[in-house]
């Protein structure tokens, strides 16, 4: 592996983490959208809110990580992608703002009308943002982004069959991941009815995703033959791994082993993303710009790797601590004086 490939792999690890954690986060928003009326869907929405509240910011920093590593290590490729695909990227960024702001502020707001408005923007942007990001991936993977600043077509680069496929798949995968994750959360809270609902949704979206995936192969053969050749050639083992992991996840869901189902689902999604990477190797921008051509200078790459290593040492324990604290989730008895009592009471009421 060359230095540039190592850095790109590290970036891709960030992309996978965003796909899994950020994806589940978007998916939870999609289920929020489909939860039904204000009263009927309230318990589902509460579960969704409890599941993502403490971690949603951390989940989305992965994307920033991907962007900054790209622009430092592969500046020309980064500039080519974001200028040609600036429309879906801007829309995705607006979606992230609407979503983040709505989610952040909705619980601080008590008037019913405002809450409904914010709830709607949260849910709708949860649907739109993964679609646009998937469309961006479709544009890159089908070779519609040539090297050079704004050198590609700013419309057809994301309004094309492969981008539509990418967008739809992204939405479905997010919804699927979220449903599986929420199963385990519902089980932990002992909410049997919610568990049944999310299990049915997980199985349903899995079936739908599989069907779209199969149709997608025909779309790719017609629209992106290079990608199709890669996926059915060099990347075939990875694609098959994804299928096997996906099927295993279904069995695990069916038999009620939700934590294992989470792992299998995560593996299936990871393998899809890896399949894309393997299929278009060694190009960053198919079929013109290779990883080595796009990479920045050696000193920069080394500095990046050092930073990524040290950063990971700081970050991983912090993340583990956050998730551990959150999963433990027991409130201390209020022992610290009247103020603590007051606050706890207010929260409980």
């Amino acid at each position: 592996m060359t230095l540039a490939e190592v850095v790109l792999s590290a970036m891709f690890v960030g992309l996978i983490a965003y796909g899994l954690f950020g994806g589940a986060d978007f998916g939870a928003g999609i289920w929020d959208l489909l939860a039904g009326g204000t009263r009927g869907g309230a318990r589902q929405r509460d579960l969704i809110e409890r599941s993502i509240a403490p971690v949603w910011e951390a989940n989305h920093v992965w994307l920033i990580f991907v962007l900054v590593v790209l622009w430092t290590a592969f500046p020309t490729a980064f500039a080519a992608v974001v200028t040609t695909l600036y429309i879906p990227l801007t829309l995705a960024a607006f979606g992230m703002i609407a979503r983040g702001a709505a989610f952040a502020f909705r619980k601080s707001i008590s008037t019913a009308g405002m809450r409904r408005f914010l709830g709607a923007s949260f849910a709708l942007s949860s649907l739109g943002t993964p679609y646009f990001l998937g469309a961006v991936v479709g544009g890159v993977a089908s070779g519609r982004v040539p090297p050079g600043i704004a050198a590609g077509d700013v419309l057809t680069s994301w309004l094309n069959p492969t981008s539509v496929l990418g967008g739809v798949l992204a939405v479905l995968v997010c919804a699927y991941l979220a449903a599986v994750f929420l199963c385990a959360d519902a089980r932990r809270e002992g909410a049997e009815d919610l568990l049944r609902q999310f299990r049915a949704r997980a199985l349903g979206t899995a079936a739908l995703t599989g069907a779209v995936g199969i149709v997608g192969l025909f779309v790719l053969r017609a629209d992106a033959p290079l990608l199709f050749d890669g996926l059915t050639g060099r990347a075939l083992p990875v694609v098959l791994l994804s299928v096997v992991a996906g099927l295993a996840a279904l069995v695990l869901l069916w038999t009620g082993r939700y934590v294992a189902a989470r792992a299998a689902s995560a593996l299936a999604v990871t393998a899809i993303l890896l399949g894309w990477a393997v299929a278009q190797y060694p190009y960053v921008l198919v079929p013109e710009l290779t990883i080595e051509e796009a990479a920045g200078g050696r000193t920069t790459l080394v500095a990046l790797l050092v930073a990524l290593g040290v950063g990971a040492l700081v970050l991983l324990p912090s993340l583990v601590y956050l998730y551990w604290l959150f999963q433990r989730s027991v409130e201390r008895p209020a022992a610290g004086g009247a103020a603590r009592m007051g606050v706890t009471d207010a929260a409980a009421s």
Binding site: V68, T83, I97, G100, A101, S108, S318, L319
Partner: protein, 461 residues
């Protein structure tokens, strides 16, 4: 594509792209200030509360922690947009120099990640961790907030004084050294100036909220402490900031003489240059300014006869817009001194009498100080950014060459303006609510109470 078409698009995009960037950054920078300084002020208050077993301080710290959560969330989403815009609007900068100055953004990514995690821990762990563990978990939040500011400002300082690379004959970057780029001559003065500004903005703004409350007759201890603690932070920092301002002005005089000349509206390179306040710059001359003879030479060189470079030393197409830079600079400096007066008034009374000045005029002054500190900070940022024009990378890359030629890019400005208008209204609304009822929840907390229909609607009207 025909190159003339591309250039036409780029020319059409330039002004909207600059406006969009200015709007996004100008919005984000306020929230970034709170991300930098609010954690320390909050944890300090919590620590004092535990030390004295003081319910009022603990309650105050909890309210602030929640406000911090809201502001951090707003800062996070606006920061995400910025990282897109760096590439979408300024590909000429990123494609050519990403490998040189992109590195601090990677480090900032880590710092921000750590801060996001520990803001979550701090809010979520409020009644779940022991006081000691809780305050210790706040340390990474404080440190990473300041580190993040260092990295972002270091990248900006690089644009002012690009170092850490060479250009070959074709103008391509060779031999990029990102560590050297991160520690250029402008980095430390700019970073220090920004960190102190963050403490001033945060301190004065929080204090101003409570000053308004006291003017409306709220006199309980919690309110009093809410004014005194953040004001103390701001008052300590303000005199230091004036000194740092002198340092950064000298750095600008050495490294970016055109920017300094614009800050002072100085056309002719002069020995014994005066310090000019106010006035309008027209036809290579500053009209109607108040002049302190030899003041500028004295400030920059510590010598009344020192020679200060004027705008005439630069070709007309390499001069920044003078009026914007000059008036923004004057605004920043005069507000800085006004804030120094408020700080001194507070410090003196506290030192002699252990209380705040009793007159309502003091509360009024503090109430205005919040907005004044934000305006001063924004004005200072305008000086840095507009003063660097027409360059994106000083002396090397023009802003007009950095902008994206993508067709239709200028529509983004309308979108961003609309999004930020809504976001501003929401943030203000939530913070006001938080000020009235402190148990309003922050985004990182869980167990949201159900909507309170009986009081909510009524309280809003």
């Amino acid at each position: 594509m025909d190159p003339s078409v591309v250039l036409a698009d780029a020319a059409e995009n330039l002004v909207p792209a600059r406006m969009q960037m200015a709007l996004s950054l100008g919005w984000h920078i306020v929230f970034a200030c709170f991300g930098i300084a609010f954690p320390l002020i909050t944890v300090f208050t919590e620590w004092r509360g535990h030390r004295r077993d003081d319910a009022a301080r603990l309650e105050l710290a909890h309210t602030w922690a929640r406000a911090m959560g809201v502001l951090f969330a707003a800062g996070a989403v606006s920061g995400t947009l910025l990282s897109f815009e760096m590439g979408i609007l300024w590909p000429g900068l990123m494609a050519r120099f990403g490998e040189v100055f992109g590195f601090p953004f990677v480090l900032e990514g880590f710092a921000f990640f750590v801060e996001a995690i520990f803001v979550g821990v701090y809010l979520f762990g409020w009644n779940r961790l022991s006081p000691r563990a809780h305050m210790l978990s706040a340390v990474p939040m404080i440190v990473s907030g300041m580190a993040g500011a260092f990295f972002v400002v270091a990248a900006n300082a690089w644009m002012n004084n690009p170092t850490g690379f060479r250009l070959d004959e074709d103008g391509r970057v060779v031999d990029a050294r990102p560590w050297a780029a991160m520690f250029g001559p402008s980095t430390w003065p700019q970073v220090t100036h920004m960190l102190l500004a963050a403490y001033m903005v945060t301190g004065f703004t929080i204090a101003s909220v409570y000053a308004v409350g006291m003017l409306r007759g709220r006199r309980e201890r919690r309110h009093y402490l809410g004014l005194v603690i953040p004001l103390a932070f701001a008052a300590v920092v303000t005199p230091v900031q004036i000194g740092v301002g002198d340092w950064i002005a000298k750095a600008v005089a050495t490294n970016q003489p055109a920017k300094l000349a614009a800050m002072e509206g100085l056309f002719r390179t002069t020995a014994g240059a005066p310090l000019s306040v106010g006035g309008l710059y027209r036809d290579d001359e500053l009209h109607g300014a108040l002049e302190l003879p030899n003041g500028l030479s004295l400030l920059i060189h510590h010598d009344p006869g020192g020679v200060v470079t004027g705008l005439d030393a630069f070709p007309p197409d390499e001069r920044p817009p003078v009026n914007v830079v000059h008036l923004a600079f004057d605004t920043m400096v005069s507000l800085g001194f006004a804030l120094l007066l408020v700080s001194a008034w507070f410090g003196w009374t506290w030192w002699r009498r252990r209380r705040i000045p009793q007159t309502p005029w003091f509360l009024r002054a503090v109430a205005v100080a919040g907005a004044a500190s934000i305006v001063a900070m924004e004005a200072g940022w305008i000086v840095t950014e507009v003063g660097r024009q027409p360059w994106t990378v000083y002396g090397i890359l023009r802003t007009a060459e950095a902008v994206s030629p993508a067709p239709g890019l200028y529509f983004g400005l309308y979108g961003v303006a609309a999004v930020y208008a809504v976001l501003t209204v929401l943030t203000v609304y939530v913070l006001r609510r938080l000020a009235r009822s402190p148990d309003t929840r922050a985004p990182q907390e869980v167990d949201a109470p159900p909507p309170d229909r009986s009081t909510g609607e009524a309280a809003v009207r």
